[in-house]
Structures are given as C-alpha cells and as structure tokens.
Homo-oligomer: 214 residues x 2
DNA sequence: CCTACCGATCGGTAGG
DNA sequence: CCTACCGATCGGTAGG
C-alpha cells in the first residue's frame, strides 16, 4: 500500500482500463504505457496485476461505507435518511465512475481470500440500507412487506448508475439521487391512501382503467 | 447460425463460462472441454470465439424485446402495463441468468459493428419502458417529472437482478417482479395525497419527524 | 471431430 | 526505471 505518486497513477490508470476493457481484457503493458512507463517497469511499483485490482476494490468498499455509515447512524427520520443514504451512494459512484464500475463487476477476479473480504464488506454495506428500511417500517414511516426489497431497489438504482451516468450529462449526482428518492419514496401512482394489496396486485379496481392511448 | 445440437451446447456452455469468468477470462478450450470436446474441435462448429458472444447477446436482445413488446402494445392501464413489462423483463432474466449476465456486461467486447447493433436494440428496448411511462403521465396515471427516470428505475431493478437472483431462492421471478412493482408504483412512504415536491425535497414537514430509534 | 502445430501475446523477472 | 528475456497460454488452423 505504497502511497507514491506513481502508484496512485497506476491505480487510476488501472481503474480506467479495467472499467473499459475488463480485468482480463487489460494488459499490464497497457496500464504501464498509459502513464508513460515501459513494459515491465510497473513491477518496480506494484507486486502484480491483481494488487491493482485489490487496491481499487478495497478503496471503493471503504469509500461507500465511509459515505453511508454516518448517514445510517444519524437520527434523521427514515425517509430523509434513506434519501441521504442514496445521495451518498450516488456521490461515491459519480465521484469515480471507473473505480465504482470495477468494484461492482471485476472484484470476482480477485483471489479467493480477497474476494471473500470484499464480499463481507459488501454484505455489511447492504445491511446499512436494510437497517434504514427496518427502522422506517418499525416507526410506520415506510410501508413494505420486508426490509430486503426496498433496500435492493435503492441499491439497484444506485449501482446501475455506473452503467449510464456521465459527468457531462444534464443532471448532477445529487439531482439524480433526488429523482430516484422521490420515485422510491413517493411512488409512481398518485397517492390513493394505502389500498390493501394482495400479493402484489391491487385488490379491486383502484381507479378507473381509462385508456386514452392509441 | 447453425442450429445443430453441438452448437446449442457450445452457446450454453459459453454463456455459463462468460457469465462466471468474463469473455476475456474464458478460454475456447474451457468451453470445448465443458461439453467433452477436444481443444480446437469447436472450430468445426463455430467460426470463432466472438461468434459465441454474438449469438448469446443477439438472442438475449431478441428475447427481451419479444417478451416486453406485446405488453407495451397492449391496452391495459399504465400501472398494470408497467407491472407486466417488469414481470416480462424479470422473466427473461430469470429464465437464463448466464445469458442475461453476458448480455448486460460482456456485449461491449463484441467488434464495433456488432456492438453498435446491440446498442441500437438496447436503446429501442429501453424506449418501450419510457413510452409506457409517457402514456401513464399523459393520462394522469403516473406522477413523475419525466419519462426517463421511472423507466430507468424499473430497468435498474430488472437488470441488477442478474447479480443476485438465484433460482433456488425463496421467491419466484413473478413474485420478485411483483414486489418491485409494488414499491415503484406505490412508493415506500405511506400515501400522503400527492404533496407538491420541490426539487426532490418534500415542501414543508410532511408528517411528524418522530424518532423512535437508538 | 482429433492431433499437432502456428505466431502472438500474456504476466512476471533478471540484471543493471 | 529500462532492456531483454522467461515459460505459459492464448485463439485459431492444417491435415487428416
């Protein structure tokens, strides 16, 4: 875990290349050359290709936790807490899209031990979101059948973001997170005071099934 | 596009291996050996490694379209249409998890021309969901600031599914889709008849910010 | 469908 | 940090 300038450049270059071409689709030579280093010279700075992947993933896991954990531990109301957690998550993704992409998709190419470490941290991270949902359900702030699905919906939106978000787009990360939070908290259907649902289907005709489309 | 039994086995084996190890992390030898074929013998059945990737991606694109397109063209009310579209999408993902995983993540390793073809189809597919949202907004069945984010939320949930869904899990694909649809349509917060929102933040204290947590 | 082989390229190292 | 090199493995082919 050298903090040398060259090592940082290598980690950054590796993240960009791993994100674009995949871990196995990237050559150590390409990483070296992208920061004007000769072929095998990157071994003067790092132990091996997998070390670069590990550094990227380990840092990303830490940053997600560091961003969301204080939100989860705060005392704001559940709805605003979930909103803030999503905003924090989206912020980390958007702050380093290549690193987030690698963290989401290439971590499984780590060796078994490191893979297990990442998996542990990822599970603990997801638990933060489930706990926010659980708190909201307990206080009556959320209506949901379980903790897992709402948490999964938030994380799905937050993770898939890495596939489409571009920093030069029209919306900044906070705005994107806000839009998703509005949808997930408020729902797409205009509020009909919580109609009882039966297995995911509205019990009885909720509103007239008018059809104005071609 | 041979339909021989051996070719089908190769496509299936390739999907499984590409999904687990990635396109570049998989060897043509591994694919061949997984269906009891010798090293280079798979070239008696296919033109090259990339052809396998192409077949997987092209079929997946077609199946997603075939499943959702009739739903989008139907005349059911927007909320049920969006629910049915998500159910159809989830069904395709769950029916062949390896193929869906490869379609979502490995298509970018196709050559430029084939890559462009997949991108076109994917864009057209996403437009189906945006159109459902547009229809709902037009008829007043949906409240949303635009078409893109609700569509993106549905697709995020449906695509991220390939990362965690396991066929031996407690919920079948229809149940999973139903849970997500309930959340997206109904929202997590109990229905306070549509309070005007300002930039993703509820205007004024919507409900008492009681805090019952530690 | 197999055997045997091809040139190219891979991650990594020695020696300076 | 470079040059020159290592064995191993890659996708693909020839000839049968």
């Amino acid at each position: 875990m050298d903090t040398g300038r060259r090592v940082e450049q290598l980690v950054g270059a590796a993240a960009r290349l791993f994100a674009r071409c995949g871990y196995h689709g990237t050559t150590v030579r390409e990483i070296a050359r992208s920061i004007d280093l000769q072929g095998g010279s990157l071994y003067a700075h790092i132990g091996g290709k997998e070390d670069l992947l590990w550094t990227i993933c380990e840092r990303a896991a830490r940053q997600f936790h560091a961003a969301v954990s204080p939100v989860a531990d705060s005392t704001v109301a559940p709805a605003e807490k979930l909103r803030a957690a999503l905003r924090a998550h989206v912020g980390v993704v958007a702050a380093d899209l290549p690193a987030a992409t690698v963290y989401f998709h290439e971590w499984r190419f780590l060796g078994p031990d490191r893979q297990a470490l990442i998996r542990e941290r990822r599970d603990a991270y997801e638990a933060l979101f489930r706990r926010i949902v659980a708190e909201g359900r307990r206080t009556g702030a959320f209506r949901a059948e379980d903790d897992a699905f709402p948490a999964l919906l938030v994380l799905s939106a937050g993770n898939w973001l890495a596939q489409w978000f571009r920093p030069d787009g029209p919306l900044d990360p906070d705005a994107v997170a806000g839009r998703f939070a509005d949808l997930i908290l408020g729902g797409l259907s205009p509020a009909v005071p919580s109609a009882p649902t039966t297995n995911g289907r509205v019990a009885g005709p909720a509103r007239p099934a008018v059809e104005v489309t071609a």
